[in-house]
């Protein structure tokens, strides 16, 4: 009887000790943006799998914050020196954080795992993780912009519904056939609206062979290729009528999507837009293709995974970061969330590539580009956008507006140099 009691007591103590044993795992904090819906489900599962792997001895504590609140919260946390060990961030401006010294260099961890980054990840997003030839981030997810066209509207306009435009010239031609105006002069149906959806001027510059860099690699928004592109772009807007376009945009803002409503012949949207069509306009007869060219071009953005340089558990955080970009996880995200992942093996998995829409995205990723990053003026493209708007509103001619924008960007660069010493 006494023996039984003793055994019970010992087991009880051991059971009580168990949680303390698991508590001795290294704990790291991870912030991400999958705060609702299937995204949250999948992310919870991904983290759960990692935590269940006891050989690693790492416990990830995740916090999901909505995209809209994420940046302010992370910014404040960084200012307080209390950022999470590992976090998602903007793939477009990794070097600005690397420069400040917030990010841990991940190159040794990548090497230690025997990963050759150039072979594992798509070059375009991978290059955005580099700063002074070291990797300060891992490419997590990216996107590409594609052209969607409404086959029914093509038919009605007497166009071949299976032949989308392949050049910008064809696009303008087709668009003018689709346009339908109301007696008041507003557009009932519009062929293509250059200032709607994900259509941005810089994509047009790339698509017509232009560049924002001079031959020394410095930012240049007033070089002849950009001026020419802007003149053409504004010419198209003027032809369509700027006020009418603004009215169209005002009618189809606020979650009322003109393409889904069948009022827009063609639209430039992100790859994941196909999933939105399936939910909100399942009967829409549409096609997807590359953005028209003389030069194949599209624009990418994305999210990176970054490890804090001030983290006490950088090894564990890097381990988790590498797990998140592993084939297993990235394939799961691609299959279940339609997320355009950066891991080549995952993205090119046969189960995904049999879907032509997916294949198109992967193809586009080969020629896509990010906006060039300028450490001294990370938001230089806002000045470009302002110049475009000024020309659009008829306040300045294209050359003058772009010259002024260039001056502002250069004074931004000068400001940075005056206040930063290194």
């Amino acid at each position: 009887m006494r023996l039984v009691f003793r055994i019970v007591l010992v087991t009880a103590i051991l059971l009580l000790l168990l949680p303390t044993i698991s508590l001795s795992k290294t704990k790291i904090i991870f912030w991400h943006m999958y705060d609702s819906g299937p995204g949250k489900e999948v992310m919870d599962e991904i983290i759960g799998r990692f935590n269940a792997n006891n050989t690693l001895g790492i416990e990830v504590e995740a916090l999901a914050i909505s995209f809209w609140d994420y940046w302010d919260k992370l910014g404040v946390a960084m200012a307080a020196g209390q950022e999470p060990d590992i976090f998602m961030h903007d793939l477009g401006n990794v070097p600005s954080r690397a420069y400040k010294g917030v990010l841990a260099d991940l190159t040794p961890y990548i090497k230690a795992k025997g990963i050759v980054p150039e072979k594992s990840f798509f070059t375009v997003p991978l290059n955005m993780c580099k700063w002074e030839d070291k990797f300060y981030a891992l490419p997590f997810e990216t996107d590409v912009r594609l052209l969607y066209w409404n086959k029914d509207l093509f038919k009605q306009a007497g166009l071949d519904p299976d032949k989308p435009p392949s050049t910008w010239q064809e696009l303008w031609e087709y668009a003018s056939k689709i346009d339908k105006k109301s007696p008041q002069g507003t557009y009932d149906v519009l062929g293509f609206n250059p200032i709607y959806g994900q259509s941005y001027f810089w994509m047009y510059v790339w698509g017509t062979g232009g560049t924002f860099l001079d031959n020394k690699g410095n930012i240049s928004v007033n070089n002849p290729t950009v001026v020419k592109a802007l003149e053409e772009w504004i010419g198209m807007l003027n032809k369509l009528g700027i006020k009418e376009l603004e009215q169209f945009n005002a009618t189809y803002g606020w979650g009322a999507d003109a393409f889904l409503a069948g009022k827009l012949g063609m639209v430039i949207q992100v790859g994941q837009y196909a999933a939105i069509i399936k939910i909100f306009a399942p009967n829409l007869n549409y096609g997807v293709t590359h953005i028209p060219y003389p030069v194949k071009a599209t624009w990418s953005n994305g999210f990176s995974l970054e490890v804090s340089s001030r983290s006490k558990n950088k090894d564990a955080a890097a381990e988790f970061a590498l797990y998140l970009v592993s084939k297993e996880v990235q394939l799961m995200m691609a299959q279940r969330l339609n997320s355009l992942v950066c891991n080549i093996e995952a993205a090119k998995d046969p189960s995904l590539m049999q879907n032509p829409e997916w294949r198109l995205q992967v193809e586009a990723l080969e020629y896509s580009q990010f906006r060039p990053f300028v450490l001294e003026a990370p938001v230089w493209y806002e000045e470009l956008q302002k110049a475009v708007d000024e020309v659009r509103l008829g306040r300045k001619p294209a050359k003058k507006a772009l010259d002024d924008a260039q001056k502002l960007i250069e004074s931004e660069i000068q400001k940075f140099r005056l206040t930063n010493k290194k």
Binding site: W71, R395, L408
Partner: protein, 295 residues
């Protein structure tokens, strides 16, 4: 004896100090200390990650020499300040005078005019965005008279006037204050003027306005100061656009500090704005002292 008195006084007031202490602590920690710190930060480069680094007057130099957008923002702010305050005060005065003559149901009218002030700002702004949309109610109303309305919030010329028109929404507060002032004006003065054959316009300009001028001054000064801090409208409704036509100084400071992580420069901007507001307020006081017949 004195020491004893002081002790007694302290003892008597101890409870009072205790009760106000939360407010005093709040003022010290969340207002006074940040003000002092921001003055220091304005002379530094501070990216909110690395410790601030002293750069002397560089931020101020940049503001004067390299940043035309600051002066544009300042111009926008002054435009909005004077536009909205003078329109608000003038309209409020007219409405208050009219209301003052209402024989019955004054309380009801007062409530109706004050009601918009009570509503939360952000939903109201969304409402106004709909009103100002190119096919919104305002343009439809104008169309009834054959006027082709502007694009309001998406137009560089009309975005600020649109925000000023919207600011009239909060006119109720001023009306209530002016009404209280109007009721203090002795009836005998009006009667005397009427006997002398003054018409209502003369009565308004010669009697009403001078009699309530201290209150008008109060409304203008407080109005200018609060309008100089205009932020939410631009942040929610226009994001500072189109073409920075609604980028007010406070929005610019916010964007610099919290979106671009340039806290030192943002602090310098805040201080310059403060240094500009002080003489402006003094100037307004001076002008009114000369203008007003009553001290």
């Amino acid at each position: 004896m004195k020491g004893h008195q002081r002790k007694k006084l302290l003892k008597q007031n101890m409870k009072g100090y205790l009760f106000v202490s939360p407010w005093i602590l709040n003022l010290a920690f969340f207002t006074i200390i940040p003000i002092i710190v921001s003055a220091f930060l304005s002379f530094t480069k501070y990216d909110m990650v690395n410790p601030p680094r002293w750069i002397g007057f560089m931020n101020y130099y940049i503001m004067f020499k390299l940043d035309p957008s600051f002066w544009k923002a300042l111009g926008n702010t002054l435009y909005y300040m004077f536009g909205s305050v003078f329109m608000k005060v003038f309209l409020a005065l007219v409405l208050a005078v009219l209301l003052n003559n209402v024989a019955k149901g004054m309380g009801m009218y007062r409530t109706i005019f004050f009601l918009p002030v009570v509503l939360p700002a952000v939903p109201v702004m969304f409402l106004w965005m709909m009103l100002f949309s190119p096919n919104g109610l305002i343009n439809r109303f104008l169309a009834l008279f054959g006027i082709n309305g502007p694009l309001w919030l998406s137009s560089v010329t009309w975005s600020k006037p649109a925000l000023i028109i919207m600011s009239l929404w909060g006119i109720g507060g001023i009306i209530v204050i002016l009404l209280a002032g109007l009721q203090d004006v002795p009836k005998s003065i009006y009667e005397a003027a009427q006997l002398d054959g003054a018409n209502s316009v003369q009565i308004f300009w010669r009697i009403t306005v001078p009699m309530v001028s201290p209150i008008i001054l109060f409304c203008i000064v407080t109005g200018l100061i609060s309008a100089s801090q205009v932020f939410t409208e631009a942040y929610i409704m226009t994001g500072g656009g189109p073409l920075e036509s609604t980028t007010f100084v406070s929005l610019k400071i916010y964007l610099l500090a919290f979106k671009q992580g340039n806290m030192g420069y943002a602090s310098a901007m805040a201080w310059l704005m403060f240094l500009l507001m002080v003489p402006l307020t003094i100037l307004v006081f001076r002008i009114f002292r000369r203008w007003s017949p009553i001290d």
